[in-house]
């Protein structure tokens, strides 16, 4: 009997009058299925060889660095690697044990060694992330203990600096003694640990990340909405005009797209600032007085305007490519069957543009979430986004673990939204061009 899965084979078998149970074979007597598989495998191997360079490129230049960066957000061996003895003491003695003379001796030995190996700065930097102000405690103590310390170590260290007795410091050292830590993620969510290791809220005046994450996602959604409102009619016009006119218009869309990001941002500063073109024209027309010039830049308004403009092509282009393929006879048919122009648009035309809209919205939103240079230049105080904080930790405070944790949270947020999007719209309905 031919397998029901392979109706074609069944027909061939019946037509040729062969007994239905005999397996099909090739001319040299091998089973057909195996021969087919073998030739397919060869083709597959060739295909793999063709994509191998790209695969290697993506792994080496993208996946590895990103993976390494994400690893950094939970892994900081700055303390554990350079202070092995005291780290071992922490491992042996549970939380709540008061540091005994063995602990002080271990600490003194580690400090001396780290000072001589010039790694004391790394240790201090790691501790400073958890207890601000302790970096100089480590480096200055290091300078004084290079020649070695005399027991009793507790008194010797306390004589150098009384801060060595601080329970907060010992709690932080205990956390640092294990290279893997969730502290950077806690800090990214405005949380911290108290001296007993319990998770608590960070001091009110230092809570900044949660608010910035909210603002980043909210502004990105708003900008996506704005690009849709502005881009949809333009894309429709481009798709329906005669080719010659639409090509001309297309250049107007593409020209800013090809212009440097920095130039476009600076152009917006020239236009929108208080002594800028827009304010000058409004004063000249008498709409506002010279003393009431509007503040349209160095705040959230400026960020929204500039980013909407810069991201507009990413919405227009996918919409345009989808709209070009929509057959106008559907709308005509709807109209001839009595639909109003609004109903024809809503029921017939708009649903067909959804794949382009979905692609455009996803592109704009994801780009907006990670935007950095535009908010930095035109954002002022109220238009700062989370990427500005990531940049600050990368280049100013050099706390790369913190930057990595913030970036990982941002990535997680985007992935969750992508999943929601897939659930609601379906990623198969996406048409990028």
């Amino acid at each position: 009997m031919a397998t029901p899965l392979d109706p074609h084979a069944a027909i061939v078998a019946e037509a040729s009058g062969l007994p239905p149970a005999a397996p099909l074979t090739t001319a040299d007597g091998q089973p057909l299925a195996r021969a087919l598989n073998r030739s397919r495998r060869k083709a597959r191997r060739q295909a793999l060889l063709l994509v191998l360079p790209l695969l290697a490129f993506v792994v080496i230049t993208f996946i590895l660095p990103i993976g390494q960066m994400l690893h950094r957000s939970v892994y900081n061996p700055g303390f554990a690697d350079n202070m092995p003895r005291i780290s071992a003491w922490f491992a042996e003695n549970p939380r709540g044990t008061d540091p005994d003379e063995a602990a002080w001796a271990a600490l003194a030995a580690d400090l001396t060694e780290a000072a001589e190996a010039r790694t004391i700065g790394i240790v201090g930097t790691r501790m400073n992330y958890d207890v601000p102000g302790t970096r100089s405690l480590f480096t200055s103590t290091g300078r004084q203990v290079r020649g070695g310390l005399e027991p009793p170590y507790r008194e010797a260290l306390l004589e150098i600096d009384g801060k060595w007795a601080s329970p907060e410091l010992w709690a932080a050292m205990r956390t640092g003694a294990t290279a893997y830590t969730a502290n950077f993620y806690l800090a990214s969510m405005d949380l911290t640990r108290d001296n007993d290791g319990n998770i608590t809220e960070a001091p009110k005046e230092r809570q900044v990340y949660g608010m910035l994450f909210m603002r980043t996602f909210w502004l990105s959604a708003l900008i996506t909405g704005m690009t849709f409102l502005l881009g949809f009619p333009v894309a429709h016009l481009l798709a329906t005009l005669p080719t010659r006119k639409s090509n001309l218009l297309m250049i107007l869309v593409l020209l800013p797209f090809w212009t440097s990001l920095l130039v476009r941002t600076t152009a917006w500063i020239v236009l929108l600032q208080q002594q800028g073109v827009v304010n000058d024209i409004m004063v000249w027309l008498g709409i506002i007085g010279d003393g009431q010039r509007l503040q349209m830049i160095y705040n959230q308004t400026g960020t929204i305007i500039a980013m909407t403009h810069i991201l507009l092509p990413f919405m227009i282009l996918p919409l345009y490519s989808v709209m070009r393929t929509i057959n106008p006879s559907y709308v005509r048919a709807a109209r001839s069957l009595g639909a109003t122009s609004w109903t024809a648009f809503r029921r017939i035309y708009f649903p067909q543009t959804l794949p382009g809209l979905g692609a455009g919205a996803l592109l704009v939103f994801i780009l907006a979430v990670g935007y950095y240079i535009t908010p930095a230049l035109v954002g002022g105080s109220s238009g700062q986004l989370i990427s500005n904080m990531i940049a600050m930790h990368m280049t100013e405070t050099l706390n790369w673990s913190m930057a990595a944790a913030l970036a990982a949270l941002l990535l997680a947020g985007v992935l969750i939204l992508y999943w929601v999007y897939d659930r609601l719209v379906g990623i198969d309905n996406l048409k990028l061009g």
Partner: protein
């Protein structure tokens, strides 16, 4: 057999000599670019290339300290000498990312002083040789204040007497110090006060008084532009940028040295720099008093050597003497404070978070 051994030996020699020869001829310099990098080109790089025949390959970075950290951690160091800020130099030195530089390789002062005597305090550390002193200064548009002129930090915060918007760097550093000085804290006690929680509160409380009238700048080129556009009437900005705009574009900008906060920049060698000898030669050459003075004529950052001051001539291409426009001119130096490195390395992260929370709130 003998032939083969010779062959192997000579191949090995060629292999050894190849990189050695290449090392003698090039030096990789990591610099900031812009007008500052150009001043290095004119005062250090071109004369050095002429004198020694070593070719200098310059690459620019936003802040050369960031690539150094990346290079050393990745074990692939391509830079020999880098220009970094003082705070970064000390921090990286403590973390073992930099080579130590022996001060005895440096040239003596103009009158034969030893380098240790001639360099100003803090300009020589284990891993760092200072090349210039720059500062954050108050500057204003002269045409906006025809009568009384701003004279110090307190005036910067006085919106009634000196109306108009201000521009300040978007960050905690420099601004907190300025706020305390404006609030009447003696300059030599600024960091003592700032080390206490009450001091930080006091600084933020003072900043609040002008918060709504501040445009925060991010790139050093912004403040002179904002002043020129009339967007702001006063700025707290890098002195070199203001000076350049006033000098080369004839803008009516005046600098108030009272309350200046100065810092240093200089050379460091990343750990494992490939061309060590050439790098040390370059550092010694460029920090000679004459070269430092020549660099100061290109850009208004002061030389950190005492014997350089008298060698500084006119602003390049003009008849204006440069010395009065330098942060290290004796009469300017005494009006300001040195930025406290230890304080900022300890509290940068904490105060930056608080500053950003304050800014956004």
């Amino acid at each position: 057999m003998k032939l083969r051994a010779t062959f192997i030996a000579s191949t090995a020699l060629v292999a050894l000599a190849g990189p050695a020869l290449a090392q003698d001829r090039t030096l990789n310099l990591l610099d900031w670019g812009g007008a500052y990098g150009e001043s290095h080109q004119v005062a250090y790089n071109r004369p050095f290339e002429q004198e020694t025949g070593i070719r200098i390959v310059v690459s620019d970075a936003d802040n050369p300290a960031t690539p150094i950290k990346a290079m050393v951690e990745a074990g692939n160091v391509t830079a020999d000498v880098a220009s970094v800020e003082y705070a970064d130099a000390v921090r990286m030195c403590d973390e073992g990312l930099l080579e130590e530089i022996d001060p005895s390789i440096l040239r003596p002062g103009a009158n034969g002083e030893t380098p240790e005597e001639d360099f100003i305090d803090g300009a020589l550390t284990e891993c760092f040789v200072g090349t210039d002193v720059y500062s954050m200064v108050l500057a204003y548009d002269d045409t906006k204040f025809p009568d009384a002129k701003p004279a110090g930090p307190a005036d910067f915060f006085d919106l009634a007497a000196f109306p108009g918007k201000r521009t300040m760097r978007k960050g905690a550093k420099f601004n907190l110090e300025l706020a305390l000085m404006a609030d009447g804290v003696a300059p030599d006690q600024v960091y003592e006060v700032l080390s206490t929680p009450e001091g930080v509160d006091q600084a933020f409380a003072k900043l609040v008084t002008i918060k709504n009238d501040v445009i925060w700048w991010e790139a050093g080129a912004q403040p002179p532009q904002l002043l020129a556009d009339g967007e702001v009437t006063m700025a707290f900005a890098f002195n070199g940028r203001i000076f350049n705009a006033a000098m080369s574009e004839n803008k009516p900008f005046n600098i108030v040295w009272n309350g200046q906060i100065y810092e240093m920049e200089g050379w460091v060698m990343p750990k494992g720099a490939p061309n060590r000898e050439a790098a040390l030669e370059y550092i010694a050459f460029s920090t000679a008093p004459e070269q430092l003075a020549k660099a100061a004529e290109q850009i208004s950052y002061g030389p950190p050597r005492l014997s350089s001051a008298s060698l500084v001539g006119n602003v390049a291409g003009t008849e204006t003497p440069m010395l009065p426009h330098l942060p290290t001119a004796p009469e300017n130096l005494e009006l300001g404070i040195a930025s406290n490195l230890d304080f900022w390395v300890d509290h940068d992260g904490e105060l930056s978070e608080r500053f950003n929370a304050w800014l956004a709130g």
